[in-house]
Amino acid sequence: MELPVISNAAIPNSGCRSGATADRGALAHLPDHIRVRVQDHPCYSEEAHHYFARMHVAVAPACNIQCNYCNRKYDCSNESRPGVVSELLTPEQAVKKTLAVAAAIPQMTVLGIAGPGDPLANPERTFATFRMLSAQAPDIRLCVSTNGLSLPDAVEELARHNIDHVTITINCVDPEIGARIYPWIFWNKRRIRGVEGARILIEQQQKGLEMLAARGMLVKVNSVMIPGVNDEHLQDVSKIVKAKGAFLHNVMPLIAQASHGTYYGLTGQREPTQFELQALQDVCAGDMAMMRHCRQCRADAVGLLGEDRGEEFTLDKIDAMEIDYGAAMAERARVREAITAELEMKRALKAVPKFEEAATREETTTRNLRVAVATKGGGLVNEHFGHAREFLIYEAGPGECRFLGHRKCTPYCMGDESCGDGETVLGQIIAALEGVEVVLASKIGFEPWNGLESAGIRPNGEHAMEPIEEAIRMVYDEMAAAGKLDTVVVDTVARAA
């Protein structure tokens, strides 16, 4: 039975389909053969990313454009923005590292090249890496991200290496707007500035997108939301890239701090609030499937999304490892099968009974509720509030709940006894939870508990180790029964005031 597509304006009463199945909903417009290809991909599927791991290798240092949100002095390990890496690898080293990680983490299914420059501006290094890996670990899927400038020239070669996921960062389709994002591009042996440069870049991006789509390759589009520059424009971008064959549009927030030394950071261009980001994602999702759980990984990130294990796999550590590559590949196949079976079972369980339940809820008049969840993965409420580096945000309605996105934060307690900056950090967490009314965590300490409460957010530690969507459903039903979610709401108004 086909699940209905999640609508964006109002949540239909079609049964609780949060997290896991929301993916199916969000990807429902896709042809079956494409959906099958992405539903187990850790970067595309909210459900799969709890189970499968991906890694990026930094083999591509050069870039052929400048973006106002990027500082090319990227070699800084304190950063966790995209495009930031600390260890540049040769293709040989990258292959060695990938095989070592894939042996240690059998959930490894995807290898990406994302930077720190533009992979297609470094075609020799990028393609050498792909070539060696396809030969030595044919079970690992390959992805590449690009700004698109050299994409049309690379399509032929990409197709030859059988790389089926390409991500293009497209921030605009209007050169005037582009000129405010890209100060220059390098094209035809010269630096081209302003509107002219942006126009060429946009043309190349669109052409590359069409060429990939024509070959049946999966194309994802990333956009950086820059308030006052392209925020409204991104709705048009969404429509256009979808029409040209992108299967997913991922809107990410601008990251711009003066300390990053970027043009935007230094000139005071502000970042979007979490609230603005979600609002834009909601509008754009009306046009196409959106990816909500993107964690903007570093270009050399290793491991499950949101959990970076790069430290374990530095070059000298890898050299010391003894690896049986054949056994590792067999182990990966086994683990993959087990996970796929588990995911299948979960999907099947969720798809069945909820529809009847929905019918009885037809008349409800309760409003939607935003809930933040602290989780380590596995779809459970299983992280302490104080340890959470991010919260997953869900919106629950009378009939269902859906995953909205994640919000990053500095953990309240960094693990030392004192929790030194507790108070200021808590303030930041509360700001990041704008719009959220309930926080679910496996445990919440006394002090943050009080802080959350006085900010109008209900802390809740009663659902430790329970599946996220079931916990949310219980909280929602409880609050609804207590009359706290009646459509005329005093609660939120009071909070906003």
Binding site: Q66, K73, F186, T267
Partner: protein
């Protein structure tokens, strides 16, 4: 007549494959710029390209200078960052 790469170079490799004379190589010695131009090979691209290729693609202001030490990409020319903010940038440089 030759260009020179100075300490500001971040070693991004962008210039190296573009040189028509293969004058640019990575340097593995600490204390020296990450890339270097062989002054005997560099022609400033004369006869091959209209503009010196390394300086056209280099993303770092001040990394490539001419024989008088003048940067081909002076401060602000690539990033558009106003001069007054350069102090701030210096503070932003990441010290590990």
């Amino acid at each position: 007549m030759a260009l020179e790469i100075v300490n500001a170079c971040i070693g991004c490799h962008a210039c190296e494959p573009l040189c028509p004379n293969r004058a640019i190589t990575a340097v593995m010695k600490s204390g020296q710029p990450l890339f270097a131009i062989d002054a005997n090979k560099c022609t400033e691209c004369l006869g091959d390209h209209e503009l010196p290729q390394c300086a056209e693609i280099c993303p770092i202001e001040g990394a490539i200078v001419d024989e008088y030490g003048e940067p081909l990409n002076p401060p602000g020319s690539l990033t558009g960052i106003p001069f007054a903010l350069f102090e701030q940038i210096r503070e932003a440089e990441c010290h590990r």
